[in-house]
Amino acid sequence: MSKRPLKVIGTSVTLPEQLRRRALRDLAYPIEFDVLDGISCQQRGITSPGSFDVYDQWFHSIDLLWTAGSVQPIETKRIKRWNEVSLHSGPVARPSATTPLATGGSGMRPSDLLFVQEDNTLGPTPTPTIAMLPTTYNVDSFAYAPDIAAPLGFATPESWAWLLDERWHGRCTLSKDPAASTVELALAARSAGLVDIADPCNLSIEEIDALFDLLMARRRTGHFSRFWSSSEDSIRLMSGPTSVLGSLWSPAFYALRGMGHNLAYAAPSEGYRGWQSGLGLSAALTPEKMEMAYAYLNWWLEGAAGAIMARQGYYISVVEPVKKSLSAAEWDYWYGGLPASENLPGLATPVAVRTGERREGGSYTERVSRVAVWSTIMPEHNYLVRRWQEFLKIRG
């Protein structure tokens, strides 16, 4: 093995301190972690494959990295637990083995980008190589302060339309990632009856323009507070007085809960935004580091990483070893959707979940079966991104 460290880039939600320490302890070689915000990480992934060995990021971004040629195929025969890997849509190595959990949801499904096809495109048909190893995943929505929502007249079930509801004027925050935020806002605009949208994950030019006309106007009148670029950033925003409603990743939600903030996580009536995370191998990865890289990929599926991910609300593609790494109470809360039988630890705080609390949306089977949209690089992504950048530049 190489004496030079394995270089891993990712974001703070899949590379929290606990995971980095555990990886360094379990794997007998040096690893250099570079923890970036989501957009910067994706950008590095696309444009500088020479700057990393392993890319740990949103699965949908593989659409861009693969075409850009910055990652190389992963041989599934070198993934020990490959036969146990499942996506939201069910086991991937043996597609017919069980009934898929979630086949619904519009947009870019991870399984559609998984296998390297004969013509070097990505597709769902199993082949010996994949573009990215599926690891952690979740279904996302937004969080809000229930004691502010109730007097304003909001009641459950929540709706994505809340994001654009003017009663939250000046206090709504969103992620800076257009692949997630635009589908959320498209769902919101459609549910609120503000813009006619056929498919929130495949917007036409006219739909994008109509949506952004609305968003720009909202931004100018100060509907949105600020946009966040990382989980930590979102925690700062939501723990201050300016933001009381916003799309939020579950690590930030449980960190805020652990800090004592009274926040609720929505189970929107329209369904969740699903996403998958994964690991890719740099196209510039040298043969001498290949073994280290595969060892790192395999380590992710051995249980320890999955347990760390679970304590911030994330699921993982290989479940069985995680079950052994979590306490029964943890498993029942995070995966089973049962009320917490005791106080449960979080990653950021000693207690993230208190006895008696129940996860919104229920068990992981229930939650993932309610995916309405996937984080998506849609066909008009380039057009959308330019509008999005223009939108972010406006001062609210």
């Binding site: 075409t67 008009e380 330019r386 223009e390």
Partner: protein, 350 residues
Amino acid sequence: MTGSRHSARSSRTGPHQRGAAASLSSQSGAQSFLYSSVKDLLASKIETQELPSGSVLKEASIAIQLGVSRAPVRRALAMLHADGFIRAAEGQGYVVGEAHPVALSSRRLQEILVAQSDDIGRSATWERIFAEVSTTVMAAMPFGTYRIQEEELGNHHRVSRTVAREVLWRLMDRRLIEKNRKSHWIIGQMTARDIRETLEMRQVLEPRALAQVAAGLDRVWLATLTARIDKAIDDFPAGGGASLDEIETDMFGTMYAGLRNARMLSSIRRNQISLIVPRLFRQHFTIRDDLPALQEYAQIVHHLRGGAAGVAQVLLANHLARVERLTLARLRVLSALPPPGSAPYLIAIH
């Protein structure tokens, strides 16, 4: 002889059809434009019989008289040969028409070509600008909507506003820019829909065009093209993106230059924006996925050389159908690039 078939068209080809090669070529825009001017000049001199039948035309002496490099002259001569204006001389150069070869003194050649070549001098001005401006415009297209300021464009290139306007009208003719309701010149942002729709048009138009020009294509030119494609395949991917750009300029630009149906030709050129995406993509990213295209080009040219135009047509249609997915995927990747350093005459609208 093919000359009679093409000469009528050649005499009335406007500058509209000159630009394809240049507009597709970022490296040698002005240069690849020049061949068309040289060709038109020589063709007009042949048609007016100022260059009489039997005149021997040599690349080097023409290049010296016109003050241009040999490459555009070589290309102009090859095209005149393909059009039947001139025939290959035994030994070096070409001979006009059917008559016995007569060498021209350099002074005589100068009188014929240079005495009235204001034409080429004048047109070369806007043409040189056209190549550069169209490259700038195309490079901006994926990144947003821009307004072009006519006066700034003229100032930037030190030409009159009339010349600047001439360039802009020609860009509009190519559908690279449009005039909005306020009569501003606008570069519209390229969309996935534009790519899909223009590729659909290309699938209708280009195989037909190929069938029409197939018989008149210059054998030497085709042989050279084959050699370049084969070399790009052999060297792949070390040959880099520039050689691919040049091959595509010939496959989809020069290839149709002899098309008699001027309307079809201008429609083709208006629908070739899908060629802009790989060109920009290859400046920043891998050419890994371009190998199948090169192999398809090799097959198309192979069948053209073998006289199987029908097969070449089908292969071209298949190629155009296949590249849609790749072109759209590459357009999505361009979202990761910042807008290019803007020219002083461009204003970003959004």
